[in-house]
Structure formats: C-alpha cells, structure tokens
Symmetry: C4
Subunit: 275 residues, 4 copies
Amino acid sequence: MEREHNLIPEDAWWKRYLYRIIYRSDTKLGKLFDIILLSLILISTAIIMMESIPRLDKRFHYTFIILEWIISIFFSAEYVSRIAVVKNKRHYIFSFFGIIDFLALVPFYLSFFFPVTKYFLIFRMLRMLRVFRVFNLMDFMNDGSVIVRALKNSSRKIYIFLLFLIIFSVIVGSLMFMVEGGRPGFETIPQSIYWAVVTVTTVGYGDVSPITPMGKFFAVILMLAGYSIIAVPTGIVTAEMRNKRQNLEKVCDRCGNEDIDDDARYCKQCGKKLA
Amino acid sequence: MEREHNLIPEDAWWKRYLYRIIYRSDTKLGKLFDIILLSLILISTAIIMMESIPRLDKRFHYTFIILEWIISIFFSAEYVSRIAVVKNKRHYIFSFFGIIDFLALVPFYLSFFFPVTKYFLIFRMLRMLRVFRVFNLMDFMNDGSVIVRALKNSSRKIYIFLLFLIIFSVIVGSLMFMVEGGRPGFETIPQSIYWAVVTVTTVGYGDVSPITPMGKFFAVILMLAGYSIIAVPTGIVTAEMRNKRQNLEKVCDRCGNEDIDDDARYCKQCGKKLA
Amino acid sequence: MEREHNLIPEDAWWKRYLYRIIYRSDTKLGKLFDIILLSLILISTAIIMMESIPRLDKRFHYTFIILEWIISIFFSAEYVSRIAVVKNKRHYIFSFFGIIDFLALVPFYLSFFFPVTKYFLIFRMLRMLRVFRVFNLMDFMNDGSVIVRALKNSSRKIYIFLLFLIIFSVIVGSLMFMVEGGRPGFETIPQSIYWAVVTVTTVGYGDVSPITPMGKFFAVILMLAGYSIIAVPTGIVTAEMRNKRQNLEKVCDRCGNEDIDDDARYCKQCGKKLA
Amino acid sequence: MEREHNLIPEDAWWKRYLYRIIYRSDTKLGKLFDIILLSLILISTAIIMMESIPRLDKRFHYTFIILEWIISIFFSAEYVSRIAVVKNKRHYIFSFFGIIDFLALVPFYLSFFFPVTKYFLIFRMLRMLRVFRVFNLMDFMNDGSVIVRALKNSSRKIYIFLLFLIIFSVIVGSLMFMVEGGRPGFETIPQSIYWAVVTVTTVGYGDVSPITPMGKFFAVILMLAGYSIIAVPTGIVTAEMRNKRQNLEKVCDRCGNEDIDDDARYCKQCGKKLA
C-alpha cells in the first residue's frame, strides 16, 4: 500500500522520536498511538452514521459536534506532525494515504466558510480507509498484499471482462427493451440495461422483472449466461493467485534473480544451485 | 475438531467400558449409542422447530414437554457420564464439544427457576452442532477436516477480505445516502450500508432498491464490482485447497522433482526409485 | 453413465441387427434412430409443458392426447425391444436408464385404470433424462464424464459442506426467530430457516426480509458469510477437477498402472520409461 | 478475434496508405482514426439510449437525427473503404467484424424504405461490438484472448453443464408445478421452470416465490443445490485457465522437468542450461 517515506530522518531528536511513534509500531508509545488512531477512526465513523439517524441526531446533536471537533483537531495535529517529521514531505502529501488524510480533514475546515451539506460526509467517510494504514503497521497486511498483488496482476484481464460484461448488458438490455416494450421497468433503454445488469450479476432485486413470456424466455437465457460467466473472474483471480506462490525470501546470490518458485532448486536465470 | 481426552482410562472396568461406548464407535454398543444420540439430537431439533408453530404447539404441547424432559435427562446423564469416565475432566469440560454439551443443557435447568423465554431456544439449537461429534466418530470427517484446514489456513486472508468488503460497503452506502437522499430504504447511513451489503453480496432482496437514475447508475457499478470481487474469496480458498495435495515431504534426490504423489514408488520424471 | 449390457448378443440375426440400431450409433439406421428418439423426447416434453397452459390445452386437447398416444406406443415398443435384444435383461432393467425408461411409461398405462392426476406428469418429465442416453452414444459425453467424475470424487466433501450449511442455516434461522419475533416471514422457526437459506445462498427473493435494525445487522453478517463460504464448494470442485488431468490413454506396459499423469515420463509404480 | 485479411496489399499506393490507417494503429493517423472510430461508436450508442427516453427525444429529436446521419455516413464510408483497400474482400465481408459492420448499417438504409420501428435499434446496438475491434488493434486484447481461449477450450464442458442445468430446471419446475398447484407464479409448467431457473442461478427476483411449506421445502433444496453446482462452471474455466500458463513446449532434457517458465534459461530442478 504505502511505501515508507524516508525511514530514518536525521534531523532533530524530537522529529526522530515522533517519527518512530507515528510511522512505526515497534515501541510501546507507537503501539498506543496506533490503538488511539484506530479507536478515533472507528468512533468518527460511528458518529457520522449516527448523525444520519434523525432520532439520535436530535438527542446527541451537541455531543456529536463536540466529539467531531476533538477528533478533527487530533487528526489535524496528526496530519501536521506527519508532514513535519517526514523528510520527503512531497512524497507523503501525494501518497495514497497522504491524500486520504487530507481529504478527511477538508470538510471540517470547509464547514467554517460554507453551510454544511450532506455532500461533505462522503469525504469524512474516507477516513475509514485509514484503518488499512494502522493494519499496515501491525504486520497484518502481508496476507492482504498477496490479494492486492493478485488483483493488480489480473487487473487488465478483469477490465476486459468488465468491458465485455458492460457491452453484453447493453445489447441484452436493448433486446429486452424491444421485447418488453414500455412495460414497467423497461420504459427506456438505460432502464432495461439496469435490469440486465441486475440479472446477469445474479443480484436480482425484483424491482424490475420480465412480464411477457418472451421476456421471461430471454431472462432465463441471460440468467444461465450470468451463472456460467461468473466463472470467468473467478478463474482469472484463482489462476493469478496460484501463480504467485513464489518464495518471497529466496534470492539468487549470483545473479540477484528474485523470481524464484517455492520448489526451485536452481536459479532459472543463471543456473546457480540455490542454498 | 475434538482432540480425544485420555484415550485409555485405567480406572475401574465400568469406566473403561462406558468410555468405549461413549467416546468410540468400534463396538456394537458404541455404534448403537451413536445412532441413539444422533436420533435424539434430530428429534430434539424437530421438537424445537415444531414448538414455534402455534398450530402444532397447541395440539402437541404436552407431548413436546414430555419428550423434551426425556431427551434432557438422557443428555444430562450423558454429560455426567462423559465427565465421569474421562481422565482429564478439565480438558473435556472446556473443549469445544464440552461447552456445546453444557450450553445445550442450561436452558432446561434454568427453566425451573425462570420463566421460559424464547431466548432459551437458541442454546437448545446449539445441540445440532453435536451432530458433528457423532460424524466425527464415524470416520466421516476426514474429508471435512480438509475443508476446515483449508479455511483455517486462509482465514487471515479471508478476514482481510471481509474487512475490505465492510469498509467498501460503508463508503458505498454513504455515497448512496448522498445520492438517494431520504428515499425509502435510504433514510439513514446504516440503512444505506445494509442496501450496499445486500447488493455487493449479490443477495438482492429488493426490499430496498435505487430509484433515481443516478442511484441506479451507482448500483450498476456496485453490482459489477460485487460480481467481480466474489472471485477473491474463491481464489483464496481454492489456492489453499490445492496446496494441500501432494506429499510435501518427498523429493526425488536425483532430479529434484517435488511433484510426487502419495502412492508413488518411482520418480515420474527420471524413473529413480524413491526412498 | 450406462455400462453397456452384453455388447455382442449371439442370438438371432434380427436381434443383433436391432441391437446395433438401438444401442449403437455407428450405422446410418442407428443414427436415424437416435435422432427420432431425441425428437420424440423433446416433442413429448413440449406437449407436457403446453398441456399445463389452459389456453393451449383447450385448443389442442385432442392433438396432445393423440400425440401422447403415438409417442407412448413408440416408447413402449422401444422399451420392449431393448429388453428383447439385450442378453443380460436384468442388468438393463435395473440400470439407471432402464428405470428411467420404465418410469416414463408408467403414467401412460396407469391412466387407463386411474383418473389422470397432475402427479403423473413428473414421471413423464423424467423422459427428459433420456436425452443424456442419446448424447451418450453421440460421443459427446467424454467431457461430461470429466464433470461427473470430479463431482463424484468430491461428493463426500460436498455432502459435509451441505451438512454444515444446513446446520448453520438452522442455527441462524433460530437466532433470527428470536430477533425478529413474530414479524411477517419470521412467524415460526422453519420459516426463519427458509429465510436463512434464501439469504446465505445469495438467492434473496425478498419475500421475507429483516425489518428491525437488529435483524438487518444479523442479516448483513449472514450475507457476508454466505458470500465468503460460496468459495468452499468452488474450491472443492476446482481442486478435484485439476486433480484428474491424468492421461487417460497411457498405461504402463510393464505393471499395468493406469494412474499416469500427463507430464510423467516414467511409471511411478515400477519405474519403467513410458513410451 | 479477427484474422487480418491480406496484410500487405500491393495495389495502388493510396490503398496501401488507407489500409495502414484503417487496419493498423502504428501510425499517427492510424491512431487518430481509431480514436475517432471509438468516439463515434460511443456517441452513437449514447444517442440510441437517449432516443428511448421520451423527455430527451422530444427535446433533441432533430439533433439526434442529424448526428445519426453524420455517423451513419462516416460508418458507410468506412465500410466501403474497408472493402476497397482489402485484397481478400470476401474474407472481410464474411468475417465476424465484417458482418457486424454491415448489420450496424442496415437499419439506417432500411429506414428510407420502411417506417422506423424499434426492432431496428438492436442492430444499431451491435455497433458496440466494434469497440473490441479498436481494442484489438490497441494491443489490449492479449489478455482478452487468454480468456476467450480458455472459454473456447472449455466450451463443450460448459454446454454439457448448461444442458444438465436446463434439464434439471425443467424437472424441478415440473415438480414445483405439482406442489404449488395453480398458485400465483406457478400457473403453468413453463412459468414454474422460469421460477426454477431464477432460483437455481441464485438471481432470485422474488416476483415468484414459493408459498406453501412444501414448496418452500423444495425451494430450500433447490437453492442449496444451486449454491453448490455454481462450483462446476467455475471449476471448468479455472482448470482450463491454469492449463494455459507455462511454456508447454519446453522440457528439460536432463531431468524431464516440464514446469518451465517462459523466461527461464536454466532448469529450476537440475540447473541444466535450457536450449
């Protein structure tokens, strides 16, 4: 996820100290910091959710606002500290988590100048992604990165599959628009495409369903197709996941080749016997 | 599932005798005991189900109560016997099945002191898990343990996947709350998250479905995402399951072939006799 | 599917002749017979379907009855011939297809003695299974048997998975019965179990869906569980299917070992170099 | 997808020039042409969709018609050019994309002679498939062809699976017709089969759902079956996709190791330099 920015800042001692607490979790204070961060993220998310429930918002309106203030100030201080103690500030600011950290703070400060709208909350919700940052430190993401790598390596195939799925849905949706005429849920082509996607992905809300026998017949074909082609993304990811069972620790000490399978006894690039 | 507690108790002969009947199934009586146990578990479950149907409960109320008494007494006697004949009593009591056995009895005895509430029944339902204990003995669980092991080995990856799925659903739910405003089913963020989970898991009840074109557009994207990421848990478990096949310890010492079946006597690659 | 019964009957020439037409498809007449059989099966199925549509049944009632007579007489003649020309009659009669052939005829003859009821039609529908018999001959089922074998080999694991799924659904259903009280769709435990199965299998009709926030919360957990454990049967079948990629034609000519992988160069049982 | 027709036409220079622009994308003009083509396909599709929305069609009716004219003329010119510059004209005309190109133009020219009906639009929608032609050139389809090849290789198995699924649905549908009698959604056998397909593919609209306890019981069995057999197509495609990885032609001639990556220079099992 996040490449570490300047592991060892050589500036002032307090910077080094803070760096260790914030960016690492190998000290007691560092671990405490992580736990506080995780708690605040979860509390913050819970507050945003509860604010949307009128009954709760009425009763605890001011509690929520005060808590939001406290959390926002903490997150602001954290954001400033993160920039302060890191050497390559640019790198952090434009890294994935740097942007998330920033976006999560924006709505709070904007609310001083603009009336609060519900469109702010989605940015506040982005804070949840910071959960991964904490887990990242907790040595929990090794398994996660296997998933992410498998998805990344198969992303092109998945894009093509999605492209095919979209074109397929558009054509089938148009077909159903012809068949089901202007019946409820099939009034326009986009609506028919909506139905096609609901069906082919096997979600099947039932807010729109075919009415004429002809429509039902086409729906049956579409469902059988959807049921079969679900195998495609699965096959892609599974094949990719199996592929990456390399031994991540082994390196060939003659040629530096790192792409070494678990069962390899010789380097496939230079023929050196592996230890 | 259950590690056996003290295979051969050396106490009294009747303990050894009972032990063999209760904990094993290699004698005629032991098999009979298993079948009776299995039957009582199924009867007990059927009674709990039927009690919840007013029409049946009215008609057979006393039959159900009497049967429940008989079964509870049998299970109590069994529980006491299990403790009596086993050497490491502590181990049994705090084992997975020991706790299940205990919890399944609790509601019966509590009902003497407290009014019976419907909250008791879930504990009584836990009895069903004892079915696995019987199958365990029946040498039926060998295949089951392959599944369990594959799930255990990939559990960390699955947890991370679920964590990602939850965060994804929370963010998408919040987005839909913004888009679909206060329309039915999207009144609050938690409700919108409920919709997001219903959609991304392809369950699609249809009790809540998007109404605005914008909402339908986001729903389409979510469905396509859900349809694609279903591949991830599948890929994880499949990769893990495949991993547990061949004899992982055998290697051909002439050619280094590690793909050696359990029953192989010669290397299939170079013809060398295997040790 | 069907083991052939007595490939070469040595009786009368007409028996041998008929045998070749009925049981094989390597002659012109044999192929014609297959095509007629396939057509009649499909026509018969179409008639049964159309009979259930009042509008069509009214209009073509007598046409349907006459066609059914013709087809039933043909199938009867075929059944008698099959028994006549085969040597091991017992074997055929009690084989899978022998029973199907018989059951498909029973309702027709029963209808002379008993009033026709709708319960007859399911037996008539079993005729559809005979389609596989025709395909069997058409050398189309080689790929099919790979699927069947993979399913057979993993059937024990799938049974255990289903057993687990059922027990899981029963316990979750009971839990929801407690949570959702007597709300519509959750009036009794069996109904709650029905909902649990609808949810965990991601079917999600929506005829029953949780109403209380607590119920929705449990539903969300159940859906996430269902979405994840769908990976289990997939993993089982995929692992089994990959496992069976042996070369079915290779046999070791020294020791007769038939379990030879595609990539094997030496027999793994006796070490003989394979041709 | 499309085999190229006569890569180097030796005719006039303008033909060679046009050929390069239209059929290739290794020149600046060729790339521009692809981008224009892609844009026009997307615009054309968007127009067809918007025409179906009465509100938009009313307002922009003439804009849509003019744009459709422009696009149709461009596509016509392109179609004629494609035929003109290619040497093997027959090959192009009857190729997959040749037919698509033609069908997409037909409705436009037919509309001069016949009144425009909604049945035309599906042919116009086929234009979307031309998107693949553009991507084809863009060296994006390498990954796509892996998917297509895996699907093609497993197509026979998938057909048999679908055949089985259809016969299964027909029999289960008939069974439900018997059980649920003439209840809404189960009035005829075809309707019951529609329900069976909706259920077994886990789509679950909910427009039809079982009402009687008996019907719900059968539905539960069907759902569990559908949940399990979804593993079959997945297993088929995954097995096929895995099959297409390694370099299948390379073998180590010292140890016979066939598991050789595309980029390997030495055998990973015995260290032998590969030819």
